[in-house]
Symmetry: C4
Subunit: 264 residues, 4 copies
């Protein structure tokens, strides 16, 4: 078994957050440019459709995650208590199921918020914030020192995103908050990959030395470099969006959305 | 004695918070729908009467709680120092008396806020917030590990409610904050029942194993499920309110309040 | 020596904070009533004179405190390093000198803010907040358990006041924040008296048992009762102000200030 | 070697922050006076040029710091892993390189914000805040008790500045926040000098006694005195600015900027 499950799990989770970060790093700069081009315009149907679509993708991924956690061969298959051993089944799978469930909920709230059945504005941000707070508060730490250190750094990235989403409940469409949330998602995504490589390398082997102090210092720096990388990705995507808009003129900004609100 | 006092106490406290959560999960969606229907309208006498009534019920429950804590057979009967043992009487009863006293105060402030003698707006939310902060800061934790874990989770629910009420001092009538406060009350209510079942089951017996680590993980997840349940209750009640209003038309929204403000 | 210095010090500090709390519990309700009576009026010269006077009293008390700490017989007499013992002199006196210095600064800022040389609005609240944060961060805790517990509770009262003053930088003249700050000063004042009685009773004797757990629980409750007492004082003074204004009519509100702004 | 590197490093870092504090303690009072003199005026080109220049200086210092850390004789010369010892090279230099990198980034954002390619307002404050948070979170503490204490106090100064810069994202051009940030930079600067003197005196010798408790108390007070000193510097510079403006009349306020916006 050259590729242990925990690497795969960490990498898949990381990919989910990284893709969302990438998507937002294109979407929010475009939204900001469009808003600057015609400051008086209302949020159009186009944006609402994009958020509807985002919510659906989030809900789909979360549901897929729940099903995978439950029905992998080693999973609990929806069983919580094992009668033969008179104890709980392996609760790690249930743990991730619970966390994914709140992301599923957040996706559903996004979808319903932008359906005709309008919910109060800000409920979508609150539900994202709740999902992230639940991810950060109820993460299960191993007792191993390096594992704990890596997950503490992860917790900082998640917490930054949760706080940013919470502030967006009150300061909706604040471009700085949206950019900061985007960077925190990119950081969380790439850091989950890093955790996978450090704790259970895909080429097998025992992972890094849990007792070497210099590994701690190195990984702390590494976390900062991941953030620098996240900011580089964000900058590159923003610049590309700006260049694309500059090429096509301000009228071109809503282009990727035109297909969505053709009926307007 | 098949049903120990501490289960009863926990369940009664839980019921109090759950009933308030249930009531708000009907009231706030209706208020939001009414506000959307005629955005220009002032908060009417009807709403003020409802808040007056809420305060009176809160004060009544708190006063009842104080009397019960003091005058149950094992209670201190308002005695603080026991001259025969030269020590304090059992301070647990006094502890709950103190906590209930601040809820009594919060109820009285609600009542007075909506009396002709108008207090500054926001004092009712501040007094609720103070009562919740006192509940969370001065809760007496047992030294037993599982007990401590359960009460830490409870503290999170109370703290969320306290913070939400504090923000409402500055952002009054913010529907997201009201919904969040409602969900925190529902969570606190159902979690107090859960604590009762885990630590002192009503069918007797010794409670759960305080040393089994998997119980900790299970109860952490359980807390998340309680929150999911609270959100489900909130959603169901909101949907029912919306359906009820949809049946009767926007004019029907203030219906449950009409009897209150007939003199308008 | 029946009345040890530390009781006297604690009581004098407590009196300072309590007097400020009492004064504000009259001033802020009157200000609120005046503001309600004629909502359009600007903050008059009268109020500015009162704040000038408050700052002067604060600075005077702080300066007196500094002089007393330095020049009591056991004090350091402005000497920091003792050449004969080759060590620092007793730093406790210097510690209080430092804390008082920031209250002196806050008083001076109050005075200068309301002089013709106008400072930016909010600097007076910021300087009060800084003084309180320095009081809370740099308090010297004894290692004795009960001492530590009492000072932790004190720190909560100071912190509440500091946070409230900090918020007032951004939300100036917010009546709820002013009332909350007032209640925190009353609490801090009465709790400093309580600390004096517990740790070094004025009638001599060894203070309370530092190891009895029930003392901890009792004093925690006691802290809540002090807060209830502070709220009672605040309510009584507000009611008295309102009654006084009701007797004299809205024109009567500025009465206590009339003598100050006779030249208006 | 009478002047060990760590003193020099601490002193150079301190000088950087102190110079920025000094510069702001002149700039922000002038800006406030100008704003008071003609409240209706927009932020002119002059101010934007100053911020451009500030960003360039910040970026230059940060880049210089990175190069010095990497290419001093004992530095890693961009090498992260030493193949001969099969371990990481000395990571302290890399640590400072990482911290300086985020200040470099903050400088670049300042420069780009005020270039024709306009970034969203507030991104410059966010990037400064991120740099300070990274400085405070990822500082490497020694295990020695006094060292830890000194760096905890430093962390408070940095954290105050980071929080202030974060608030400025939302409350831009708030004079109180600008003054507070200035005072935190002055404090951080002078405290870095103090740390240098205590831990590695430039005249050689072993540094202060790490085990003497009275040193801890003394240095805590010393930190407060540094803050008092920072406030004194700030007050003196503000007073000098005001006097200078008073001499030249309100028209004189933009004087130091006139050379910058001659083309207006």
């Amino acid at each position: 078994d050259p590729m242990p499950t925990s690497f795969l799990g960490s990498a898949l989770r990381g990919t989910f957050f990284f893709i969302f970060g990438l998507w937002w790093s294109v979407r929010y700069p475009l939204k900001y440019l469009r808003w600057k081009a015609n400051a008086e315009s209302q949020p159009s149907h186009g944006i609402q459709r994009v958020e509807f679509f985002e919510g659906a993708v989030k809900a789909f991924f979360a549901l897929a995650g729940i099903l995978v956690e439950q029905f992998v061969p080693a999973g609990p298959h929806l069983q919580l208590y094992s009668p033969e051993t008179h104890s709980w089944t392996d609760l790690t799978h249930w743990h991730y199921t619970t966390i994914y469930f709140f992301f599923l909920l957040s996706g559903i709230v996004d979808v319903v918020s932008h359906s005709p059945l309008k919910l109060p504005l800000g409920l979508d941000r609150l539900s994202l914030s709740v999902a992230l707070f639940i991810e950060v508060c109820f993460h299960d730490y191993s007792d191993a020192a390096l594992d704990y250190h890596l997950h503490s750094l992860l917790a900082m990235a998640i917490f930054a995103g949760a706080l940013s989403a919470l502030l967006e409940v009150f300061l909706r469409d604040h471009v700085i908050l949206e950019i900061f949330r985007t960077s925190s998602f990119l950081l969380q995504g790439s850091w989950l990959w890093q955790i996978g490589f450090v704790l259970s390398p895909p080429w097998g082997g025992p992972g890094w030395d849990q007792t070497d102090r210099s590994n701690f210092t190195f990984l702390t720096m590494c976390f900062c470099w991941h953030y620098a990388g996240a900011l580089a990705v964000l900058t590159a995507n923003s610049a590309a969006s700006r260049w694309y808009v500059g090429e096509r003129g301000p009228r071109g900004v809503p282009a990727p959305c035109t297909s969505w609100d053709g009926q307007e």
